[in-house]
Symmetry: C2
Subunit: 422 residues, 2 copies
């Protein structure tokens, strides 16, 4: 039997050329048929495999799983089973969908278990208990430091010692496709004596990726960089919406708050670390040397190509950034080891985002703040309109995929339209 991410494994499900979801991927999501119950599904080509039906008909291990693991509003109960059981589940699904198995191939069974993704509603895959946002791209931190502080000392003294992070709002993380409203709040124009109130004028996206955790250890215990991979389930694309004018005025000394917590958007399918295994790449040399609890062995960066697109209301798409997750300075195992080194506990379904992913080239910057260099270099879209920041009616789309040896592991997209402030 071929392993689940062997490039030679093929599925009896027809996979269109360039699909994000070949049999080597098998990402997990929460879906519903129109008006139906929410269930756990796995994407394959243009279809989703209904794991709830698969369980009910006895195709999944009845000793390990129960009905509520697969028919549920969220995936948390399933994730609470931990890495080993979920890895086995994915191997089993991979086998059932492969040409090595005839179990599901009959017309009746296909119709029972496979549903066209475009006929489904996708929902939040997990109920996010706690959401943390890191700040782990050196180019991003350097760009922001150059713009707002001191070009000669762009990185703050702690940046290369600490994977800097902060807590964000989980209630306002929404699914791709859900429109958001421009936030309103306090801003203080540079020449003003006192702050003013109104809709943000500097609405921005942040291109990020997030990972979702398995349950961690009890409070007081730590997860080491070596252990960390067994506590990470999978990843999605994450748009950390930001209101720059509100951020500047509010963030000293306790960090961003209303400038961030009005909305974040995610792509619907969680791609497992197991599927991403072949796309590991070496990270940057970390200098100065990090403290021992942040040292790691092996490669824990991933080569994930990321595009950001702006689509004006009724207009066509313009790619405004092409970045890559491999540009991160701090990787996921360092982030998780740092987050728990003080004994902080993780639950299944917690979400930890990377921070804006900017590369060294200006075309790879992960926010309008950097792309338009604080509004001084407007971007030209295909319809000849210009953007310094995001306008009402714009849809921001982020797409991501890995590609190697003829296998493409994609994340789908997160697409969010901005509506005017209420």
């Amino acid at each position: 039997m071929l392993p689940s991410n062997d490039p030679r494994r093929e599925s009896w499900v027809d996979i269109p050329e360039g699909s994000d979801f070949p049999i080597q991927n098998l990402p997990f999501g929460i879906l519903s048929k129109k008006g139906g119950e929410k269930k756990v599904g796995v994407a394959i080509g243009e279809y989703a495999l209904d794991l709830s039906a698969l369980y009910d008909f006895g195709f999944l291990d009845l000793k390990t799983f129960s009905h509520h693991h697969f028919e549920n509003t969220h995936m948390n109960d399933l994730l609470n089973l931990g890495h080993e059981k979920i890895r086995q589940l994915r191997e089993r699904v991979s086998y059932l969908l492969s040409t090595e198995s005839d179990d599901l191939k009959s017309q009746t069974k296909r119709e029972l278990f496979l549903v066209k993704i475009d006929e489904l509603d996708m929902h939040m895959p997990v109920k996010v208990g706690d959401y943390t946002d890191f700040y782990s791209s050196e180019d991003h931190a350097r760009n922001v430091g150059t713009m707002f502080r001191d070009p000669d000392n762009a990185l703050l003294p702690n940046w290369k010692h600490i994977p800097v992070g902060y807590h964000g709002r989980s209630s306002s993380i929404v699914m791709s496709g859900e429109a958001i409203h421009r936030p309103a709040g306090q801003q203080k124009p540079q020449d003003a004596e006192v702050p003013v109130y109104g809709p943000s004028k500097l609405l921005d996206f942040e291109l990020e990726m997030a990972f979702v955790t398995y349950p961690g250890k009890p409070m007081g215990d730590r997860i080491s960089t070596t252990e960390a991979k067994d506590y990470i389930f999978g990843m999605c694309i994450f748009n950390d919406w930001s209101a720059r004018d509100m951020q500047t005025w509010e963030y000293v000394p306790l960090g961003p708050f209303l400038s961030k917590n009005f909305a974040s958007s995610i792509s619907p399918w969680l791609v497992t670390l197991d599927a991403l295994e072949p796309f590991k790449v070496k990270g940057p040399q970390q200098d100065p040397k990090v403290l021992p609890y942040l040292e790691y062995t092996g490669d824990h960066h991933y080569d994930i190509k990321l595009d950001v697109i702006i689509k004006p209301d009724g207009g066509e798409e313009t790619i405004v950034s092409q970045s890559n997750y491999k540009h991160m300075y701090w990787n996921m195992v360092q982030q998780l080891a740092h987050h728990t080194v003080n004994g902080c506990n993780m639950n299944g379904g917690d979400m930890l985002a990377s921070g804006t992913i900017s590369g060294p080239d200006p075309s790879s910057y992960g926010s309008m703040l950097e792309l338009s260099w604080r509004g001084t270099k407007p971007l030209k879209l295909k319809d000849s309109s210009e953007r310094k920041f995001i306008q009402d009616g714009d849809t921001v789309i982020m797409r991501g995929y890995c590609e190697k040896d003829g296998v493409r592991i994609g994340f789908g997209e997160v697409s969010t339209k901005v509506l005017p402030s209420k």
Copy 2:
């Protein structure tokens, strides 16, 4: 019939002199008899009234409630019914426990419905979705600003315009009685070139109070200061544990993270805003004038006396701070209006803490950082030992109550022992 917080209302349950829980209080909590299911209870004197049993025997409105509202691991389902229904529930419980009603007075019924609190385990009352910590005491902000920044400009420019707040960690909020471990993490001694790793040397409490929300409005909508009280269920005492040495090194630019998220502790009983109504007092004159969305009418500060106690391992209690919740600059309706002015959504069971509650007098400072003025003025305990910060083996206890017209509405206590770092 007397209203539920009328000082003249009396209970047929014997209430000891000085009890925190007279019939005018009736706070809600989650309890279990040893080894039993978790249920919603209401405190009365030395007893808890088992609402789950009360419901099962038909004493509560069967049209409004279901069994899961009262037998449940948390109170969130109950809170999701909203303010009006919970107010009616509390009125009903008040009537049943009052001398005006004979419904529960028989010996058999007392034994069925009332359980001695000291025979119970108390649990987290809500599953906290999102936890926010404000920074709303002027004296605290001024003390911190004086110590760490500039005595002549102790308050940052935004402080009197914004109820400054930030997101915290909900997974590590624990119940009174649960011991916590001293956190370890990075610190950078002033004379050191690079940071070191180890247990925090400057472990501190922060005396705070927190409020718990009913479900708010959909994303994109705001809750006004006028509407806010209908979205607030009740309050508890909140100890926002802090590691000062880790905080100093990590908090610029995105705010406190590992220095806070290792643990926060709360008192078990949620005292309703309805019970606190008689203890409203006028807040400070706010100058400069706040933006219109932060203006409010009526009184929304509360006169709640607060004590902080240190009890060394095996030793006796020393009161180290006597503060009052009335010292807040920003009140709860302003905090909630600010938090939602950008369209951020609230869920039932979210927790919003006040920030350290310091009064103007040094004896009313709400943290060791301020009480010992950064370690320069050690406190003397009754056993003659000194404290600059909290030592392993110390138990920190916070108690709070209101008193007026012979009625005492108490919060009980939050008591937490500090164990060595693991």
